[in-house]
């Protein structure tokens, strides 16, 4: 690429960052609208081909929000808040630790971070009812949720990773033996930091402003909650749906099969399954919890979910338009960085994840390069967890949904693009996880790839 091409890529990148900044300043649906304007500028002014809008993610949000909103209309969210508050009565701040591990587990079981959408409202409500700064639990959970991809045997990124390291005698179990304990340590460190992060809720100026203006209602103490008659039933249906998604996600063999392109059949992807199951959950709640369909759109969860959907539509479309046209340049630049300075490989993985917003892309481009540079396969597995860098820019669906769900305003997408609520937990988490992974490999996997047998010398 010529210098002129690089300058053009940089200017396009600045346009993307500029419109994200405009969007986060505008807030709410403004994020999506400015993202749409950014897409238009990239296509009409810079002549880029339009990227793909995140249709699957949008459809999942619609399905999950429908189910969660139906549950809220039935009083189920109140019931969950009561139960969680009772469980956390002695130590409410334990939520900052419990929520991230639950969201991490959900991703491991389903192989996708999309299931997290279903528990965002619950985490937010439990935190708020207990007067815990929602940002602490929500931001930590969002990061832990993304980290779960490298610990999930059924994730697409894992399917990309395994063929790269199998030849070095690292199978799925070995990979999990490195990534799971490292991630558990990383999440703990992150949760520890997050449990002390930011001011207490009552002292937060933005929250006070929202309270004064009526944008946020004071939290209802869990003891004052009056349960609706079918609240428990709606929760049971909702949780059964989440469990069903986890079971179908983890056990491929029980999924319905679909025709494979190359002939034969293959298990259906988890994505449409989530959509079907969550829409069914919503319908069952309407029937068995006696909720009026007209009540569902009036809930807070529905409102914030729809805002998140519009925000994701515009922002992710703009980001994909930039990335689809410049992925090669991004990978080439960061690949050269790692080629010249191999010790930068973990940072390069993190940045490729952040700039392409794709864990699979970061895996397939940077891991082979690290192996070619002579870094041991075990260490590459440890550093692979840096693909959690997809949250570096606030253009991910879960980030947007978490920020929208938090009516107190403590969870935000930042004012200068990179100063969002997820940045500190993200950085703490990936650094500690990568370091812990490296130590695990050093201690238990002998550092490098198992040494090959000494070759037998044969005569001419």
């Amino acid at each position: 690429m010529s210098t002129q091409d690089w300058i053009l890529v940089a200017v396009e990148g600045l346009v993307v960052i500029g419109f994200i900044a405009l969007g986060v300043r505008s807030g709410g649906v403004g994020l999506g609208l400015w993202g749409g304007v950014g897409t238009l500028v990239l296509v009409f002014v810079f002549g880029l081909d339009p990227g793909e809008p995140p249709i699957s993610a949008i459809l999942i949000i619609i399905a999950v929000v429908s189910a969660a909103a139906a549950m809220q209309a039935a009083g189920g969210v109140d019931y969950m808040v009561m139960v969680a508050s009772k469980a956390l009565r002695a130590r409410p701040k334990a939520l900052n630790f419990v929520a991230p591990y639950v969201s991490y587990l959900l991703t491991i079981l389903t192989g996708t971070s999309n299931t997290f959408f279903s528990i965002i409202p619950v985490i937010n409500e439990v935190a708020y009812a207990n007067k815990i700064r929602p940002e602490r639990a929500l931001a930590g959970s969002t990061v832990a949720n993304a980290l779960g991809i490298t610990s999930s045997p059924v994730a697409a990124a894992m399917a990309t990773m395994l063929p790269l390291v199998e030849v070095y005698n690292y199978d799925l179990v070995d990979v999990l033996l490195i990534t799971v304990p490292a991630s558990l340590i990383g999440i703990f460190a992150m949760s520890l930091v997050m449990s002390r992060y930011g001011t207490e809720l009552d002292a937060d100026p933005e929250y006070q402003r929202r309270l004064a203006s009526g944008e946020a209602l004071p939290p209802a103490p869990p003891a004052d909650i009056v349960l609706q008659p079918f609240a428990k039933r709606s929760v049971a249906i909702f949780l059964a749906g989440v469990v069903a998604i986890c079971v179908f996600g983890f056990v491929e063999g029980i999924r319905p099969t679909v025709a494979a392109e190359g002939g034969g059949v293959e298990p259906m992807s988890v994505t449409p399954l989530i959509q079907m199951i969550m829409l069914t959950v919503a319908a069952l709640i309407l029937v068995f919890a006696h909720v009026k369909a007209t009540d569902v759109p009036t809930t807070q969860i529905f409102r914030s979910g729809m805002i998140a959907m519009i925000a994701l539509f515009g922002i992710a479309w703009m980001a994909d338009t930039f990335i689809a046209n410049n992925e090669d340049a991004i990978v080439q630049a960061l690949g050269s960085l790692a080629e010249n300075w191999p010790f930068m490989i973990a940072v390069a993985i993190f940045l490729v994840g952040g700039l392409t917003t794709s864990q699979s892309a970061a895996t397939r481009t940077m891991v082979p390069l690290g192996l070619a540079l002579g870094i041991g396969a075990g260490y590459m597995i440890a550093m692979w967890t840096a693909v959690v860098g997809v949250l570096f820019l606030p253009a991910n669906g879960t980030q947007i949904a978490a920020a929208e769900a938090d009516t107190t305003g403590t969870t935000n997408l930042g004012k200068r693009v990179v100063d969002h609520s997820f940045q500190v937990p993200l950085q703490i988490c990936w650094v500690v996880t990568a370091l812990a992974g490296i130590v695990i490999v050093w201690l238990f996997f002998g550092g490098h790839t198992p040494a090959p047998p000494v070759p037998t010398t044969t005569g001419p």
């Binding site: 999309n114 030849v167 992807s269 703490i428």
Partner: protein, 203 residues
């Protein structure tokens, strides 16, 4: 020091720690260094096996462009003939990149400590240089706008030919090295990574 700046310092310190630890544990490449025949064979086969895994994944995606993956990046509802062409192009670009990475890995395998080790390393290095140039030409060709349908097809076929040429000449280079250097041939036969690669190839 309080507030955001404290976090910036903490984060920078953490990233520096990762860089430091990576510098310590990452053994770096063996380019121009003398290594045992077994280690050389292991590196070469490892690079080829990683490349093979990448190509398998690219071919799978080319065969199933509308697969409803969990990442949400490939959208069947939005696919158009234009994006399908782009997908083939993307697949070729990824293949060029993967092949480039494989060459880097093979080149970084070092100089085997066998009687003909130096010549073997030179032969591999010569192949790497020539192939890298061919791949860069192929990438440049893919980057250009095609004026006609014939030009567009020629671009894609030229790129595919460059990749095939890189692999064929690579296999020949390694085979030649094995022929002239029996110790390396034995190492290539006995290395666990090469055995793994052979098993994968024949399965």
């Amino acid at each position: 020091m309080r507030g955001p700046w404290l976090w910036v310092v903490v984060i920078v310190a953490g990233v520096v720690a990762v860089l430091g630890v990576t510098a310590i544990v990452g053994r770096d490449d063996n380019k121009n260094q003398t290594v045992s025949a077994g280690e050389w064979a292991d590196s070469v086969c490892g690079s080829v096996a990683v490349w093979r895994g990448e190509i398998e994944s690219i071919v799978d995606e080319l065969r199933q462009p509308s697969a409803t993956g969990s990442t949400g990046t490939t959208e069947p509802q939005s696919e158009t003939p234009q994006s399908r062409t782009g997908f083939v192009r993307t697949g070729l670009e990824r293949t060029v990149r993967a092949t480039h990475t494989m060459i880097t890995g093979v080149e970084n395998a070092g100089v085997p400590d066998t009687p003909q080790g130096e010549q073997s390393a030179n032969a591999i290095s010569g192949w790497a240089d020539a192939t890298r140039n061919d791949l860069e030409d192929a990438q440049d060709s893919l980057d250009e706008e095609a004026d006609t349908l014939a030009d567009a097809i020629a671009q894609l076929t030229d790129a595919a030919r460059a990749i095939t040429g890189a692999v064929t000449s690579g296999v020949k280079a390694v085979a030649d090295v094995g022929r002239t250097d029996p110790e390396l041939a034995a190492a290539l036969r006995d290395s666990s990574t090469c055995q793994e690669l052979r098993e994968e190839t024949t399965s």
